[in-house]
Symmetry: D3
Subunit: 284 residues, 6 copies
C-alpha cells in the first residue's frame, strides 16, 4: 500500500481558483506561500519544533487533469487527499480558493463526520450559484449534505455578515457562528473555550481563510472584508486548540496579485506553520 | 421643486483636493472608492440592509466650474449640497480633501448649528494658511465662525496632536477632543458614551477622515499619522451612534496614489456603508 | 575639543547592511526615513516639543571607508559615535541593519555597562555565524562579552521565538525577555513597569527594530515576523520610559525596497521622534 | 428587430479568462481599460475623429450565465455577438483572454469565412489541451475548422515562436506568419503591404493580443514574451489598414494585476481607439 | 546686485501642479528627480563634464507664497526666474506641471522673444480653460501673446495629436510641429536639422515634457500618451542642439505617484543632465 | 572524477551582491529569474530547442561559506566554476552583481586567455575602490591583469560612458568599446560583424549585464542608465554569435526589489535562454 515514505504529515499545494466569485488569483497561493524566505522553525508559544518532531514534507501540488474544469478539479482533489488519508498522512493544504475544502473534507470525513474550526469572514454555506454547487461560497453546506461534516461540531469564527442571507444554512444546521464584532465583547479566551467545547475530543479539521483577517494584514485575497481579526488573535485561537485531535487543515484564498508587500503570503505561511504545530501536538 | 427622484439619501463624489497642505491625490478618492468590488449589502452588527430600506443612489460627482480655483470649488460644493438638503436628501459625500466639509456644513447647517462627530488624526480647526481660509486644516473653525456648527455639540476622536498648537480653537470654542492615546485608557465603550452625550438627540453630521486610522489600515492618504485607530474600533464607534438623528456624513482624504494594496479604498467604502446604515436607522 | 556646534542630541544615519542574514536593503533605511514628509513637531502624549527644547540636528551619515567590509564598517561606526559621545551629544541612529548597535554600545558604554530597552522580534544574542561575530543576529551578545552592556539591566520586548535556540545567551546572561504572546496576557502597563524596574535610574540605551511590529505595520524590513506589536503598543512602551536617563537610541532594519506603501518609513520616523522626545525629557 | 439604438459600432467588454494556461487575470481587462482617463478623441495620423463620425457607444459587458464554465461562456459570447452582428453593429471587444475570439469569429463569419489580421506573440492555433478545445491557445484553429475563418486570408504578426511546435496548423492551413525577428529585416512598411495583400478587399477581423508588444510596453498580461513590437510599430500596422473593410476587432489579454504602472491598460485603450478609427474609415 | 554666488547655471525645483487637467502629482517631481542616486558625471556623446566645466548648483525650490493659488504661483515663478536671469544665471527647472514654463519664458524673454525647442506629446497652445489662462495646456500660446516667445522660431516635436483641435494656435502662429508618427518617416537626423534651422543662432529655451516619451519609458506622468519617443531618440535630439545658444530649459510633468519602477524620475534626471550639458557647450 | 552526471551545460545561481556600489539587491536575482513562469522551449530565430539538444540542468546555487565576506565569496565562486569547467560542463550563471564574473573567468580562462562579448552600460574595468579589488566595477580589469582575459579579443557593447574616466583601462588594454550612441549610427548588423571579428573562432565568454538595456526594459537593477539597448537589439546581437565557440556566459545585476512589473526577471530569463541556445549551437 502507498505510504508516502512514511510521512506523518504533508504540506500540499492546491493551486486552483475556478470556484471564485469575486477576484481570481488564489491559484498562485501555493507558489507565493512557498516563496516566503523563512518561518519557524520553533513555535515558542507552544514549545514545539514541529518539523523535527514530525515526519513532515512538502509533497508538491495536487495533480490536476485540466485547468479548465471546476468539476474535474474537485474530483482530482478528493482523489489525491483520499490517497493521503488512507496512508495515514495528515494533510495541510495551501489553496487555492475555498472550494478546495469540500473535496478535502470528503476525503477525510469518509469514516465519520468531522468536526471543524473554520476561521473566515464568510460562512461559506450558501447553495448552488450560477449552476454550480462547487463554488467557494458553499463548501461547508455541501460537506454537511454529504455527511462528511458534523454541523453540531462546527464553529465559524470571524464572520462579518455582509451576506448573512446566504448563510442561513449555518444556523439551520446548527453550526456555531461567532461574528467579528462579537469577538471584542467575548474576548479571545472565551472564543477558544467555545471552540474547544464545540469540537470536543473527536477528530476535527481546521480551515483558515486569510480573509478572516483585516485587509491590512491580508490584502492579497479575493474578497477582502474590513473589520477582521488581527494576526495575534488568530494565532491565539489556533494555539488554543493545542492537544486536540486535528486530522488536517488548510490555508486558503492567498492571492499574491493583490499583495504588494507580501504580508499575506507571510501570514499564510505562518498559519500553515501553526497548523503543523497543532498536528505535532495532537494525540496520536 | 427639485426632488432628486424622491431619494432619501445620496452618495455624492467630491473629487477636489485643492485644499491639501501635504501630499495631493484625494481628488481621485471617489473614483477609487467606487471601484471597490463589493461592500455589504447587509450590516450584521446593526441588523440593517440600508440599500433596501432607504431610497438611496449614487448620484455622481459635484459639478465643478473649474479645476483651478479652490474658492470657486468651495462655492460649487455648497450650492450642490444645498440643493440636496432642500430636497430632503441626506448626503453621504466621498472626498476629496477635508476642505470639502466646510461648504457641506454650510449647506446643511443653515437652519440651525449642527452637532458633529469628527473622527480624524487632526482637529482641522486652524486659521487661514498662506492666504486661504479654505484649506483642509481648518473647515471646522470656519463652520463654527459661520454659525453652522455648534462647538458644544462637537466631538473630535482619534486626534494625535502633532500640531496641537494649531488647534487651540477646538478647546477655546468648547469642542470635546479625544486623543488617540486616550482611547486605550478609556476604551471604546466610553468613547461612544461620550459621543452620544455630546451629540444629544439633535441633528448631527459625521465626518470620517481616513487618516484617523493607523497608516497600516489606510496608507492611501495625504497626511498619514502613526498610532491611529483600528478599523474595528472605528466601526464600533460609528455603530455606537445608531438611532441618532444623523443628517449627513462624509469619508475624506482617500488618496489612491499611495494605496498600493487598495485597503484604503476598501475601508473608505466600508465606512460610507456604515454611515448609510446609520442614516437608515435614524429617526425620520 | 570637538563639540558638534554645541548639539545636545543628533540624528545620525548609519546606511550599512552588510550584517544581514535574510533580505538586504536596510542600507537605504536612513534615506527612506528622511524622506518622510512630516512628523511631529509636538508630542502630545508626552507634552513636549523636542525639537524646540533640545539643541538637536540631523548631522548626516556615518562616514564609511568602504562599502565592502563589515569589519571596517563596525569600526567606523564605533569611531564616529565615540566622537559624539565624548562631545556630550546624545545620538539617535537610523540604521542600517541591527549589527550597527554593537559598535554604538561600545562607544557609549565605555565608562560603565549600559542598561538596554530592546524592542524586537528577535533577541539578537546569537554567536558567530559563517565566520563573523558582527552579523545582525548577535550585537547584544558581543556587547555583553565586551563589558559595555549590563545583561541584568537589559529587557527584550516583542520576541516571537522562532529561533529561540539561538538566543540561549539572553537567559544565561540574565536578560529579561518578554515574548510577543506574553504581551496580551500582561498588558502594556505591566510591560512598562517591568522595563522601568529592570532599567532602574541608571543610563540606558533604547534599540528599536521595526520587525518588532507586525508585518502589516512594517512590511519594509528584512526579517518580517508575523504576530508582532501594534504601533500604539510600541508608542505606549516608549512613552512609558519618559523621565529615565536615556543616553542614546536607534531605529533599525527599515528596508524601503519592501515598503510599497511607505508605512515602514513613516513608523521608523515616528519612533525616532519618540526617542528624541525621551531624550528631551531625560534628567540632564 | 433588435437594432441597439441604431449604433454602427459598439465597444463590448468580455470579462472572461477561464481559457488561460498561464497567469489568470484578463477577466479584469475591460474594467482596467475603461478606467483609462483619456484617449483620443482625434486620431491625427488617420485624420479622423471616430467618436464623432460613427454612432458608437460602450454597451457594457457580455452577460454570462456562469463564472464557472468555459463552455457556457463561449456559447454566451457567440450568442451576444450574433445579436450585434445581425443588427449591423460592428463590435470592438475588450477581453478577456484570447479564447473569446473564437465565438466572436463564429458570430461574425457565419455568412462567409473572414479574413484576419492577428497581432500576437503566439499563433494560437494549437489543438485541444487538457480536454478542452476552448482554451486561449487555439481559437484560430477552431475557427478555421468551423469554416468561419479563411486561413488563406489570415496573417499573424509578431510571433516569437517559443512554442512553434504547437502552431503547425498555421502553416498547414496556409496562414501567413511574420515572426517578430523578421520585422526588423522587413521593415513595417513591408509588413503592412503583406497584410493588405493577404486581406484583399474582403471583410476582415482584427485581433490584437497585447502580448504582441514587448513586456516593457505591456507587462500586464498573462504570457509575456520578450522581444516584441513597440507601440509605434503596432500603431503603424493598424493605421496601415485604413480603408479596408474591417467588420470587427478585439484587444485581449490585458491583465491589470501585473500592470503596476497601468501602461498596459493605456495601450489597450489606445489600440481599441485605433480599431474604432479603422471602423470609421472602412467602406460602408 | 544679487549674483547667486557667481553661478553660471542653476537647477531649480518648481514643485507646483495647480495647472493640471488630468492626473495631479507633478508637484512632487523635483523631489523624485533629486532622489535619483546617480546621473553622469560625464556626457560621453557630447564629450563634456558639465558639472566641472560650469559653475552650477542645485539652488533649491522656488519659494511660493501659497499652495492654494495658481495665479500667485505663476507670479512667484516669474519673480524668481527674473532674479536668476538678471544675475546671468542660466536656469534649468524641474517641474511641476507644464504651466510653469509660461512664467519662466516671461522672465527670460523680456529683452527679446525667445526661440523654443519643445519636446512633448501635446502642443500646449490652447486657450483659457474653465476660467483660467494659466493651466498646463496653454503656456506657449500665452507666451506668444505676451511677446516673449517667437512662434517662427518655435519647434514642437513628438506631438501625438489627440487634441489637435485645441492646438490650432500653433499652426496659425507659425510654429513648426513634428508629430510622433512623422518621426519614423523623417528619421531623427532630419528632426535635428529642422530644429537647428528653426532656432537659428539666436537664444532659445528648451522645454522637455516627459510625456513626449512613450508611457513605457515615462509612466509617471499625468497625461500619458501611447506611441511616443524613445529615450535614445530624445537624447539624440537634445545632443543634436549642442553648440547653440541655449538660455534655459526645463523638464516637466514627472509625477512619481504613477512611477512604480522610478524610470520616469531617472529619465527626468538624465534629461536635466543633457540640458546642463548643452548649457556647458553653448557659446558664452 | 566529478562529472556532474554527464551534463554538457549547467545553469548556476550566484546569489551574491557584496560587490555593488549603488543599490544592492542582485543577490535575489537567481530566485527572481527562476520564478519566471515560462521561457522557450523553442528558439525560433535560431531554429534550436536547446533543452532537448543539450544535456543541461539547473544545478542550484554556488555554495558560499559566508554571507559576510566579499573576498571569500569570490574564492567560493572560482572554486565552484573550476569544478564545473574541469568536468567539461559549460556554465551559464545567473548573478548576483557583476563582481561574480571575475572568478568565473579565472576558472574558465586558466588554460588560455578568453575572448569576451560584454554587453553592459558600463565597461567595468576600473581599479580598486575603497580598498577592494573585487567590486562590481572592475572584474574585467582584474581578469586581464590575471591573464585569463584577452583584451584584444574583448568587445564591450552598449556602454553609456557616464563614468568614462574610470574605464581608461579598456582603451589602454586594447578592448573594443561600442557606446550606446554609436549603435544607432552603426546598426546592429555592423555591431555583430565587429563582435565576430573581435572574437574570431577561439573560445569566448558572454557576459550580459541587464543594465545594458534601457531602464524601461530592465528597471530591476542596481545602476540603471538611461538610453540603453532594446530587448530586440540585444537578442539580435546574441543570436548573431551563433556557431561561435562559447564556453560560458552569465546574466547579472537583476535586482527584483526594483522590478515592480517583473519585466527584468523575464528578460534575464530570456537572455539566459539565448545563451543556452548559443551553447547548443557551438562547435563541440
Amino acid at each position: 500500500m502507498e505510504d508516502f515514505g512514511g510521512l506523518q504529515a504533508a504540506l500540499v499545494g492546491v493551486p486552483m481558483d475556478l470556484g471564485v466569485t469575486n477576484r481570481a488569483g488564489a491559484r498562485n497561493g501555493p507558489r507565493a506561500v512557498r516563496m516566503v524566505e523563512r518561518i519557524g522553525p520553533y513555535n515558542h508559544a507552544l514549545r514545539v519544533s514541529p518539523l523535527s518532531e514530525l515526519r513532515v514534507a512538502d509533497i508538491g501540488d495536487v495533480p490536476f487533469r485540466s485547468r479548465y474544469s471546476l468539476e474535474q478539479s474537485i474530483a482530482d482533489i478528493e482523489a489525491f487527499f483520499s490517497r493521503l488519508h488512507q496512508a495515514g498522512v495528515v494533510p495541510v493544504a495551501i489553496g487555492g480558493d475555498h472550494s478546495i475544502t469540500y473535496p478535502i473534507l470528503r476525503a477525510l470525513g469518509r469514516e465519520a463526520p468531522l468536526g471543524l474550526v473554520h476561521i473566515d469572514a464568510h460562512c461559506d454555506t450558501s447553495g448552488p450559484l450560477e449552476g454550480s454547487r462547487f463554488h467557494h461560497g458553499g463548501p461547508f453546506r455541501q460537506a454537511v449534505l454529504d455527511g462528511v461534516l458534523d454541523p453540531a461540531r462546527t464553529i465559524q469564527i470571524g464572520i462579518r455578515g455582509p451576506a448573512e442571507m446566504l448563510y442561513e444554512f449555518s444556523y439551520v444546521a446548527g453550526m456555531s457562528v461567532i461574528h467579528a464584532e462579537e469577538v471584542d465583547a467575548m474576548g479571545i479566551e472565551a472564543v477558544i473555550e467555545r471552540a474547544r467545547a464545540v469540537i470536543g475530543d473527536l477528530p476535527f479539521y481546521l480551515s483558515f481563510d486569510v480573509d478572516a483577517l483585516d485587509p491590512a494584514f491580508a490584502p492579497g485575497t479575493g474578497t477582502p472584508e474590513v473589520g477582521g481579526l488581527t494576526p495575534r488573535e488568530a494565532q491565539r485561537i489556533l494555539r488554543g486548540l493545542a492537544g486536540l485531535p486535528i486530522i488536517g487543515g488548510d490555508v486558503v484564498e492567498v492571492a499574491p496579485q493583490y499583495d504588494a508587500t507580501s504580508v499575506t503570503a507571510q501570514i499564510g505561511a505562518q498559519m500553515a506553520f501553526e497548523i503543523i504545530s497543532l498536528v505535532a501536538l495532537a494525540p496520536r
